[in-house]
Symmetry: C2
Subunit: 120 residues, 2 copies
Amino acid sequence: MTDQRKAILKVLEESEDHPSVETLCDRARQADASISIATVYRTLGLLSELGLVLKHDFKDTSARFEVDHGHHHHLVDTESGEVVEFENDALEALMHKICADLGYEMVDHTFELFGRKIKK
Amino acid sequence: MTDQRKAILKVLEESEDHPSVETLCDRARQADASISIATVYRTLGLLSELGLVLKHDFKDTSARFEVDHGHHHHLVDTESGEVVEFENDALEALMHKICADLGYEMVDHTFELFGRKIKK
DNA sequence: GTATGTGCAAAGACTTTGCTTTGGA
DNA sequence: TCCAAAGCAAAGTCTTTGCACATAC
């Protein structure tokens, strides 16, 4: 457990948004200016494999990350880029059921919604 | 409508799997050996925008494509890489409902399941 | 003291683009 | 003929890696 990893973890935990590798690196550099992007990639790789961190594809240019604090999903506002988080137990259950019905045990999934705000 | 586009479309329509750009290019070249990878990318970009073709991320190295023939989803066998297609109306409905409840109109989504075959 | 981690820069993988030539309508 | 499309190769992005140096334990 190195200082760099501590800094990256801390930034991840404190982030309320879904930072890209680049953003994460910038933030971590405020604690330790020497942190390189390579280390950020390597650390995120580790954390992802351990299941502590989730990687998302918001159809942005690059991958986005967040600590895995319980099951929730994302709706991306296609106009503003804003990300809305939500939980939905029925969805979770349905995903597991679909896998089971097909004879599989679910080990992972991707799921993001993209929507346009409805004007009142 | 050029010969190259015709060839790419034909290959896409005849593909029962979910080819990558590279694979698609190889297949299209059997009809017209001069087709370049750039044309395949450009054509897929067009077709995607028109909504005729869907682009998926199966956590492979590169993007995978298929013609949009009705709503169905994918379960990727994490051991074999095999892709199982399935339909599920409840899932469709739930996605739309989630968006609506959050005040959004759904314009797109990503959804793939990753699972391990259950041994009997 | 030794295995592991880091920084840097170079290499990789996938995708996009500039420019010239080609070809469809 | 004329404009859109194709081919080629170069450039762009994001990500990974080799290697020498630094550091945790």
